[in-house]
Each structure stands twice: as C-alpha cells, then as structure tokens.
C-alpha cells in the first residue's frame, strides 16, 4: 500500500502504480488487496479484475493511484496510537454491573 520507500529513477517508463480495494460481497467493506501498474484508472479497474478477482473474490473494485494516498509515518506510531492504551473506560468491559443487568 503506497509502500514504496522512494521512487527509483528508472521508473520513468513505468505505468503508474495503483492500490486495489475489493468488496468481497454486498454488505462488506472494500478491503485493500494489493497493487498493480496501469496507464489510467479505466485500465486499472480492468486489470484489477484479471489479477485480483479470478475466482469471484469480488463484486466491486476501487482503484486509487498510490501517489494519491497519504499514510501515517511508522515513526509516529507511538505518538498517534499509544495514548489510547490507558483509556480503558472506552470499552464496555470496563464497567462491572450487577449480574441481573450485566448483559446490557
């Protein structure tokens, strides 16, 4: 997922990279399943069908240019996500209720 560390110089001739999201069936989210090179969005959809849904893995496809995705920096992982660690009161299990109403 837009993981390429830096764009090497020799990619000048390459088709752009696209990230592919597939919805397995109605009612479920689109899920990232990989990437591929395609000249434009229309071709990216066509190629995604060939590469990622050969066995009915999907009913819908999203394609997004990798360069259009902004991702959080792995170095910020602690700063961004650790503060939630001590907020246990955000979970239902934090509250102990009398047995008679504990299925609430």
């Amino acid at each position: 997922m837009n993981d390429t560390a830096s764009t090497p110089a020799s990619t000048a001739q390459e088709w752009p990279l696209w990230e592919i999201f597939v919805r397995p069936k109605a009612g479920l989210d689109h899920k990232h399943c990989g990437s591929l090179h395609a000249p434009d969005a229309k071709m990216a959809v066509q190629l995604a069908r060939e590469v990622y849904t050969r066995r009915q893995e999907g009913t819908s496809v999203w394609v997004v240019k990798s360069s259009d995705i902004t991702a959080s920096d792995p170095g910020d992982k602690g700063m961004l996500f650790d503060p939630m660690e001590d907020k246990v009161y955000r979970h239902p299990t934090f509250y102990e209720l009398p047995d008679s109403v504990n299925h609430m």
Binding site: T4, P8, Q13, P74
Partner: protein, 333 residues
C-alpha cells in the same frame, strides 16, 4: 510455481561499521523478529534483510512468469476443450502470481523495470526447473503433480515469512496453487486409468524426466546453501531445504502408487528406522549446470521473455500516451 534459485545468488558482505543509531535500530529489529512480529514495508530494516528479500521475491516472481512458457507450449495441443480451459486458467494464475510478487518486491524500493532488466540481463535467476522442455502432454500433468507439488511444499512455510507483504502474497498464491497440483494429478489419472499403453508409457516417461529436477527445486543440501542460516534467523525461511525435500518424497511416493507409476530411483525405499523414505544421490552437477545457464532451454526461455517485452513496448507506450491525452482533454473541458 516457485524457485529454489533464491538460495543461489552471490553472497553479500555485511557492513562491519555501523553508527550507534543504526545499531540500536538493528537491535530493535532483531527483537521484533524474535517475538515473531511481522515487518511492514515502511518499518526500519537492515539493508541486508532488504537485499535478501528483493533477491528472493523478485526471483520468485521471475519463476512464475518464466513458468508460463513450458506450459504455454501445450495450450494449442491440449487433448480436449476442458483440458485447454484448465491449462489456460492455470497459466493465467502463474501470471497473476508473478504480479503479486513483483508488487511485494516493489514495496522494498526496487522498481518493476529494474527487476525485469535484471532478469533479461541474466543477473537475476529464476527456478531452474523451467529450463527443461515439455515434450509430451503428460509433461503438463506431471508439472502440475510434481513441480507444483514441490512448489506448494516450499511455499506454505513462506506464508509465515517475517516480511508481511511477501507473506500476504504467499497466502493468496497458496490458496490458488492447490488447484494446480490437483488438475495435474487428475489429468495423469485419466491417462493411466482410461488411456492406451502408449499413453501410460508417456506418463511414466514424463515422471522419469521430471522426478530429479523436482527434487532439485528444494535447493542445494543444507550444508551448501549459501543464504540459509541468515534467512532462517530472520524468519524469511522457516524449514530447511533437506527437510522440505524429504517431506516431498514421502508424500509423492504414496501418490505414485495410486497413479501406478514408479520413480526413476532404484535406491528409493521406506526406512522404518527413520520413518522416512531413503532416496538416491541427486546429480548436483546437473543442477549447477542448469542454474549457470546451461540447461536444455535456458537460452530459449530468456529469449522468449525478452522478445515479449520488446514486442510489447509500443503497447505500453501507446497506452501511456492515450492516458496522458485523455487527462489533458479532461483538464481542458
């Protein structure tokens, strides 16, 4: 399909001098490997880990793509429409597997063009098994049964590889690969059960030719495998070459009985003490010959890849030119 050639690249020297910061990062990395954590593309990793993976994943990708060639040889001559449809689906899968793997390698900062240039320039290897010719229709069945069978044994442990994008690609590949082996066995079973004597002989002949190269797919013996120790340490490799090879022999001997064929190895026999089959010595000279570029089809395979790439250049350029023109049109509107 799969490659053993990943173990046969040149050995890189590890940098001796490291900065204090790098040493600390490496320590943290090693600790994560020890606790069985996955490494994602943007996580810090030692340069040697990155290089090892680029080599292994790209060679694996090349193997899938080159592996389409020996099978493509039989598409127009498949015995029935059903077998032709199956073979086409299988070859399309191999192409897909190559693409998953190229994409996984690209997450490490190498480009598709660099990898393809390395293959075409002879600097990157692919599995030497694809340098053998497919002489009869039975070869297609035997490739499914033995070659894909060996591939599955090699690949299943890779779904637990420490590098997550590679592991994810391998999960997808393994899910699809099982059909490859089963269709091969099924095709052979039909020839053995319902075929003529000539067809049965054809199957045995194909087994005779593919058995040893299939065993070589697991790579050199553990003692001679250049990258094994470090790859095991890093969780890139989980089971040793010799252990996987033994597992493959034990599994296929039983399958051969169902089929009614024999393996071309007079020393192959059950060893009750070890609980495994013993088998004869492998001709490693031949293996190194083929890896070194002197197999029966090395030149032909590489030439076919280079030709496909060069003949397709105008299509790639035209598609890009069309995309640019459409984008400009949209801007103007």
């Amino acid at each position: 399909m799969y490659t053993q050639a990943m173990d046969t690249g040149p050995k890189e020297e590890r940098k001796a001098v490291r900065s204090a910061e790098e040493a600390q990062l490496e320590e943290r990395f090693e600790a994560r490997i020890d606790e069985g954590a996955f490494i994602e593309a943007k996580d810090w990793m030692p340069e040697h880990y990155r290089k090892t993976l680029v080599r292994q994943i790209s060679q694996h990708a090349h193997s899938e793509i080159v592996g389409m060639l020996p099978e493509g040889n039989w598409v127009t001559r498949a015995p029935t429409l059903k077998r032709k449809a199956i073979l086409l689906a299988k070859i399309q899968d191999e192409g897909g597997h190559g693409l998953y793997l190229y994409a996984a390698a690209e997450t490490l900062g190498t480009s598709r063009d660099q990898m393809i240039a390395a293959l075409h320039g002879g600097r990157a290897k692919y599995s030497s098994i694809f340098n053998y010719p497919t002489l009869s229709w039975a070869d297609i069945g035997v490739i499914g049964w033995l070659v894909d069978g060996a591939a599955i044994m090699n690949q299943v442990p890779l779904t637990r590889c420490s590098y997550a994008p590679y592991a994810r690609a391998m999960v997808r590949i393994c899910r699809e690969e099982s059909f490859h082996q089963r269709q091969g066995f099924d095709a052979l079973l039909v020839m053995m059960r319902d075929g003529t004597d000539a067809q049965r002989e054809m199957v045995q002949d194909a087994v005779n030719r593919w058995w040893w190269p299939s065993l070589m797919m697991f790579g050199p013996p553990d003692g001679e495998s250049t990258h094994s120790t470090q790859s095991m340490r890093w969780g890139i490799k989980r089971i040793s070459n010799d252990d996987l090879r033994q597992k493959f022999v034990d599994a296929t001997v039983e399958q051969a009985k169902v089929l009614g064929v024999t393996m071309p190895d007079p020393l192959l026999k059950w060893n009750a003490e070890r609980g495994h089959h013993d088998f004869g010595p492998i001709a490693w000279d031949e293996f190194w010959q083929v890896v070194g570029g002197h197999g029966p089809c090395n030149k032909e395979r590489l030439a076919a890849r280079v030709k496909a790439w060069e003949d397709g250049a105008w299509v790639r350029e035209a598609a890009m030119a069309h995309a640019r023109k459409q984008a400009l049109k949209e801007q103007a509107a």
